[in-house]
């Protein structure tokens, strides 16, 4: 039953809001605030956490979970199906083959390549959501958040859920299929409690601060490789929607010229243009507005 209310998200290690990730983000946030006392007032203010936009995030989280269970998940193919199709395609095209490498090498290769490909497709789809006008209509729902909190991560239109679902099964399925084709049953992932080690480390290092007002940034060198929480907040800033599309790695933004260092942006203002915000102030509007947006100009 808890599935229908989205409560299992907090005890599921595969979810962004898994309680351990929330706790680690809280600890990091507190450490940050102890050094940056001036920001304490804003971050601990009830105005922030009970802001109309935040309250909408909380209620939308439960509703969107229901939509995902009832409409999205049954549609999205299993990555196992994609993996099997990939294996059969490769076998039919190139014949049967086995590459002989040690378990350890295959483990490291599979874990890292899966993570890199997954992160790249995430970057690519995210960028498309901003650059293709039709997709931007749906992604605007996410950017309509006036204030950020960890549940803003789930303020996503079901159509976007569907697209990310397809991205996920395609990238997972194809990479797994190629590896199984090459290495057979030797394929395995280095995981921590069932999650890819890279994803686990990233998640525990404050992934929930991406959607928050904690302006945690990394040294410049590190920000060419990893997206810091503040870099993602810059992406949510009205002036820089077209920057920092990356999920975990910043290298894609760096390579494709969409990168913005934390040091380059002093202030951020979230949400959409003032005149558009009224179209995203209720659950119904979040769901319906993208379909009747022809009258609204693309931002």
């Amino acid at each position: 039953m808890e599935n229908f209310f989205g409560l299992e998200y907090f005890i599921d290690v595969h979810k962004r809001v898994y309680y351990i990730y929330i706790i680690s983000s809280l600890v990091l946030g507190m450490l940050y605030l102890s050094v940056n006392q001036k920001e304490k007032r804003v971050n601990l203010s009830s105005k922030l956490w009970l802001h109309q936009s935040a309250r909408l995030d909380y209620s939308y989280f439960f509703i969107s979970n229901l939509i995902k269970i009832l409409l999205i998940f049954p549609i999205v193919l299993s990555s196992k199906t994609i993996a099997l199709s990939t294996i059969m395609f490769l076998t039919d095209t190139f014949g049967y083959t086995r590459v002989n490498l040690s378990y350890e090498v295959i483990l490291v290769l599979f874990t890292s390549i899966l993570f890199i490909i997954s992160d790249f497709t995430r970057y690519f789809l995210h960028r498309l959501l901003h650059t293709v006008p039709l997709l931007w209509r749906f992604h605007k729902v996410h950017h309509s958040a006036k204030v950020l909190n960890p549940l803003t991560f789930y303020r996503v239109h079901p159509v976007e859920n569907l697209l990310f679902g397809f991205r996920y099964v395609l990238s997972m399925g194809i990479v797994s299929g190629v590896f199984i084709y090459l290495f057979g049953s030797k394929v395995d992932i280095y995981d921590v409690v069932g999650v890819n080690i890279f994803v686990f480390v990233f998640s525990i290092l404050g992934s929930n601060l991406r959607h928050s007002h904690i302006k945690l940034s990394y040294p410049k060198v590190l920000e060419t490789v990893l997206i810091s929480p503040y870099m993602h907040q810059i992406h949510h800033s009205t002036k820089f929607f077209n920057k920092n599309f990356g999920g975990t790695l910043a290298i894609w933004d760096y390579m494709f010229n969409t990168h913005k260092f934390s040091k380059q942006v002093k202030t951020v203002k979230f949400g959409l243009k003032k005149e558009q915000m009224g179209d995203y102030d209720s659950i119904i509007k979040l769901l319906v507005t993208p379909f009747r947006m022809s009258k609204i100009e693309n931002q």
Binding site: H14, K80, Y96, E160, F164, S176, G184, S185, I189, V195
Partner: protein, 204 residues
């Protein structure tokens, strides 16, 4: 060793079944048979002497057997049936009985039967087998599918009449061998649990 023993069997076939069989060929055949026996004895010795070592690392043993079954099912499907009957990608629709593995002696069907019987012994034996072990590891549905496809393939061997791969009915056998090959991979994909090891599929 496995690969070369087959080559030797082909050599024996050539010596015994082509025209011009004489005393010299008879002597040569005896040498080839001795070689085959020696090789099989060597294989047997390794199985017996290294049996405990082989079974000591469960994952490795499991991998070796699954990879072997997948490899064998691919060769059955493509090399031993598809390429000859014209159903594999490589053959491009050109059926040619002369490409059969034991065309000279007309023993290709027997070879396919033996290989399928071996699959059955491993996956669907009357006593505890590899299939039962996989079922204990949560792959009941997949093993049932594999067992069905092995039995279907054995049943569909009847469509390969008189070593005639050019007969259109052979496609029924090819399709069941294809399903068998896929079912092995399917069990492998399910066993690896690749679906669950990355964070949720939402946006950002």
């Amino acid at each position: 060793m496995y690969k070369h023993s087959f080559k030797t069997i082909n050599a024996l076939e050539y010596a015994l079944y082509t025209d011009g069989f004489d005393d010299r060929r008879y002597e040569l055949s005896k040498i080839i048979v001795r070689n085959i026996i020696n090789r099989l004895d060597e294989i047997n010795e390794v199985y017996v002497s290294d049996n405990k070592k082989f079974l000591s690392d469960f994952k490795w043993t499991n991998d070796v057997i699954i990879n072997m079954l997948i490899d064998s099912s691919f060769k059955l499907r493509d090399w031993r049936v598809g390429d000859i009957a014209g159903y594999s990608r490589k053959s491009k629709g050109n059926a040619d009985n002369k490409k059969a593995e034991y065309f000279i002696s007309a023993n290709s069907t027997t070879a396919i039967q033996s290989i399928l019987d071996t699959h059955k012994q491993i996956m669907d034996a009357p006593t505890y087998d590899f299939g039962d072990m996989l079922i204990e590891n949560g792959l009941k549905k997949e093993v049932q599918l594999i067992r069905n496809e092995i039995n279907n393939s054995i049943e569909n061997l009847k469509y390969l009449k008189n070593e005639d791969f050019e007969n259109k009915e052979v496609k029924i056998l090819y399709v069941s061998l294809d399903k068998l090959h896929r079912s092995y991979y399917s069990s492998l994909v399910n066993a690896l649990e690749i679906n669950t090891k990355i964070l949720d599929a939402d946006g950002d």
